[in-house]
Symmetry: C2
Subunit: 147 residues, 2 copies
Amino acid sequence: MTPWLEPQQQRSWRALVDGAGRLVTHLDRHLRGAHGLSLAEYEVLVRLSELSDHQVHMSELAAGLSHSRARLSQTVDRLARAGLVTRLPCPQDRRGVHAALTPGGAAALRAAAADHVREVRRLVIDVLSDAELATVGTAMDKVRAAV
Amino acid sequence: MTPWLEPQQQRSWRALVDGAGRLVTHLDRHLRGAHGLSLAEYEVLVRLSELSDHQVHMSELAAGLSHSRARLSQTVDRLARAGLVTRLPCPQDRRGVHAALTPGGAAALRAAAADHVREVRRLVIDVLSDAELATVGTAMDKVRAAV
DNA sequence: CCCATGTAGTTGCACTGTCAACTATGTCGT
DNA sequence: ACGACATAGTTGACAGTGCAACTACATGGG
């Protein structure tokens, strides 16, 4: 009774939504339980750690993570309250704010990262062949571009 | 500075998380805007519509959707308030409750489904080859099993 | 038969996310 | 130089989710 997809397409589609959903839920719970960080907070720390000066404009950070500015603002609030990140005014643009990783934030990330990555490997990398993983990557890039 | 994955793995991994996240966010907004249904509500209606008698135990429904019972209970609350679903006591087990699709719910689903499926096609099915989609499906099934 | 334990479902609370409104600042056209 | 409009970021109200506690019913062992 539902106008829908062909059975094979439907199975793949549901596997994608359900699998990705469960995966993210699991990783979030794992990080919270083991390290007191939400997945969103962890991702912010990772992005900051990848930059040479460990800081960025809030907007760039939000865009890079596909989060709304409101959401990022609140995530950074929590991280700042925990002392893992600080806000710095941007000299070139007085509207702008940089989020910067603190030493404490870098330490928290180091503590969490190995454990988190182990989980990602266990649940994704290790269960897929290289070819499968690569196909998933290019496929999801196309989807991302289409959205 | 982050102990992490090989670059190629990392790209695929991020494409998966980000792509799936954006996709679901988009579909949820689309459904809300066009039909006043959240994606979670829509999925409940779809599952009910697929059953011959258009009803199930709450728990089965929750399991099928990978939602907690608490979450499903509240989603069904909203659907019931909107008249799209009703709760029926289960005769065999007096603890149990069935969620049942109402005619209004079936109508709401019919109104939303074509539009929603069109969006899924546009963003996923049409941008991927059959082989890619199939690989994504089997890959995410493996991930789902691993979680 | 009864008690211990398990399961179905709901509810209250805390937390996180969305949306819209708002302040402050920057930019462009005239 | 000024006003209109765009952009950066934050805030407050509200919705949805997770978790833990709770009620009600079921089931299996003594």
